[in-house]
Subunit: 136 residues, 2 copies
DNA sequence: ACGGTTTTGACAACCGTTTTCATTTGCACG
DNA sequence: CGTGCAAATGAAAACGGTTGTCAAAACCGT
């Protein structure tokens, strides 16, 4: 039954970058899976809660998810064109955040860091129409 | 006429941390201002576009705005308890983002960095439940 | 005052997400 | 095998923030 959840997880595993809930739902339906939007949302939330996937908000307020290679703390370098994502570690940033926080008397520091850019292949294809990765 | 816009800006100026659009709208109405929600949104967008205010998304997808002291690029250290916000500069982070990006062949690097924590007064209030907000 | 343009704001449309709730499924036990 | 029950599912409705629509109001130069 929580077969659905694994299925959702699988979709994310096969994806390069971040996917939205609706996106995942659409793909599953397209593949013939019998699943409801509600369940996709629930699965995604469960996976996020259990730390199996990473989640972040796009600028337009949509939640996007991604199966991460490691459960360790890390950040993302996302191609704003094709959505390809690279996981990056940033010890320097961690330290900086911690330092800047305590410097101002803040405790229990957490932080969100996302880096966006245009990846090599996308920037070289810049003159062309642009691929259609998942969303754009 | 863009009197409304200035009014909205003023509300943000008087605020300590980030405010949501609806929040600003509610306050303005409470103060007796004749303004519509639509206009508040438009003013906020205009201010954000012109760089007069900073904007970010809360975890629940709401957009929040804040009048920033400087138009320069900077980040925020936000108290997750009371919302108090400190603007912080992070040359190290800027460099790191740039480096990590080009390292992977990405161009046109941008980034979002937000640091959250509990500020001194809030954490001391939390540690000592029954009031007695002594040491800072 | 007058036409043309911009701004405004009540209201409806949107859209992603969450809730509701009746139904189905899985499972332990008799 | 049934039976009962709790968890999972999903269709549809509810939600809530944001955006679009469009007619009325405010401006502005003349």
């Amino acid at each position: 039954m929580s077969n659905r959840r694994d299925a959702v997880h699988e979709i994310l595993r096969q994806s390069e970058g971040f996917r939205s809930a609706q996106d995942v739902y659409a793909e599953m339906r397209a593949e013939g899976a019998k699943i409801g939007l509600t369940t996709v949302y629930r699965a995604l939330q469960a996976l996020a809660d259990s730390g199996h996937v990473d989640t972040l908000r796009t600028d337009d307020g949509e939640s996007v998810y991604r199966a991460c290679a490691s459960g360790d703390h890390h950040h993302h370098l996302v191609c704003r064109r094709c959505g390809r994502t690279v996981e990056v570690a940033g010890p320097a940033v961690e330290r900086w955040a911690e330092a800047v926080g305590s410097e101002h008397g803040f405790t229990g520091i957490t932080h969100t860091v996302e880096v966006f850019g245009t990846c090599a292949s996308c920037s070289s294809a810049a003159a062309k129409p642009a691929g259609v990765p998942s969303r754009a």
